[in-house]
């Protein structure tokens, strides 16, 4: 069962289209897995749409008001209705592209928000495979990570924030066990060392490299940059 959810302010920002793409992908993918948050998002969408459309009576609009910049709108309106409408078949074509992603021996079904990244190039370091999404959002990097079974990531902290959405498998750290759909945000105050017994696939977003904190694992800081 999913125990970790995005905060409702984040869901509202997502619905308003105000989150950057990297975080929007995470929230969208979570909503696909979490009916609870999906309901919150649906409600927010309705509320925003109501606010957008207001409550004015349509009666007044029967006649175009001459005071309005009617001309530019009128030209536009005429041009739009000259266009042919889409055939219903186009709809099926639009939703078809594949959600399947093969990686090593495994095939994953990606959430819809991630499906256009199913062909992203992977690179590996030790027991971790990473595919960077290339969203071009400056310091904010978004990646898919696949971690092999029976692997640990040494004790580390986050200089910025790190968001992890667990897409497949499970892992655990000092604060508990995480399952498919869990939406976990960590920042500089958190130290942890995640371990996965069965292996997992995650989507991660972070704005700074991981920082390894204890003794010998400082040698691992290249991994920290790799994971970022």
């Amino acid at each position: 069962m999913i125990k970790h959810h995005p905060e409702s302010t984040m869901i509202h920002a997502f619905v308003a289209g105000e989150l950057p793409a990297s975080l929007s992908i995470a929230v969208s993918a979570h909503l696909e897995l979490c009916p609870h948050c999906k309901a919150i998002a649906d409600k927010a969408t309705k509320a925003m749409a109501d606010e957008f459309s207001g409550n004015e009576a349509l009666v007044e609009l029967a006649e175009p008001t001459p005071a309005q910049p009617v001309d530019e709108f009128a030209t536009m309106l005429a041009a739009i209705t000259e266009q042919p409408t889409d055939a219903p078949a186009l709809k099926s074509a639009a939703v078809e592209s594949s959600n399947q992603m093969a990686l090593g021996e495994k095939t994953y079904t990606l959430p819809r928000a991630l499906r256009q990244f199913s062909q992203t190039k992977w690179s590996g370091l030790g027991n971790i495979q990473r595919a960077r999404l290339g969203l071009d959002e400056g310091d904010v990097h978004a990646s898919l990570l696949q971690i092999d079974a029976d692997s640990a990531i040494p004790h580390h902290t986050h200089k910025g924030y790190e968001l992890t959405l667990l897409l497949d498998g499970c892992f655990e750290d000092e604060s508990g066990r995480y399952e498919k759909g869990d939406f976990i945000i960590l920042n500089g105050e958190h130290h942890h060392s995640p371990y996965t017994a069965e292996g997992c696939l995650c989507y991660t977003v972070s704005n700074a490299p991981l920082h390894f904190t204890s003794g010998v694992s400082k040698l691992l800081n290249p991994i920290g940059r790799f994971l970022y």
Partner: protein
């Protein structure tokens, strides 16, 4: 659950002076969907275009970009109207979604020079309809329904529309029309029977 939400929303949004325009909007959109009704589209356009422009100005702070948003959103509404169905929500929610999506893609283009058009994957517009081998049938059926509705005697048509398209309750409608509840029920029954007959005729 869907029903309860709708009810809750309806009560919240009813301000006393304003007439609720949503049912009209739904019907206009349905008319565009079923027979590319230009007059109905003009009403939708008159209602939404200024609101979309205002939203666009807030978002982009540029007249030209705001007008782009109006143009693209309303084009999509025109071209894809047949994907709308009132069971999935109000027309205004549908239009808002299209606008929000297009605006998100525009912002990404402006701010990050990316044309990845992520929005339709982030906020699927048509998700409930996805497993849809029956879609053609559905579409056909809806058209037949709308035609059937047009052919009903006016009083029956009024009642069927009010209950099924405007989602009024029997009681509300009785008060609205100033007729007894029983009259509503019998008109509704007669209207539905005729509609059913028509559909069966079509499907044989």
């Amino acid at each position: 659950m869907y029903q309860t939400n709708q009810l809750a929303d309806a009560t919240i949004n009813k301000s006393e002076s304003a007439v609720d325009v949503q049912p009209d909007l739904n019907q206009y959109l349905m008319a565009v969907a079923s027979h590319q009704d230009k007059a109905a589209f003009a009403k939708l356009f008159a209602f939404f275009a200024p609101k979309i422009k205002a939203f666009g100005l807030k978002q982009f702070r540029q007249e030209a970009l705001a007008m782009d948003l109006v143009q693209e959103t309303m084009s999509l509404v025109w071209r894809k109207a047949q994907l709308y169905s009132p069971e999935k929500g109000k027309a205004s929610t549908w239009v808002f979604t299209i606008m929000r999506n297009y605006s998100f893609d525009m912002l990404r283009k402006i701010q990050h020079n990316k044309e990845d058009n992520l929005s339709d994957d982030l906020w699927p517009l048509y998700e409930e309809a996805e497993p849809e081998p029956d879609y053609e049938d559905d579409h056909l059926m809806r058209e037949q329904l709308i035609q059937g509705l047009e052919a009903l005697p006016p009083k029956q048509k009024e009642v069927v529309e009010a209950i099924y398209l405007k989602e009024m309750t029997h009681q509300e409608l009785a008060e609205h029309l100033g007729v007894p509840l029983g009259t509503i029920k019998s008109r509704l029954r007669l209207g539905l029977e005729k509609l059913k007959e028509k559909m069966e005729l079509h499907n044989d």
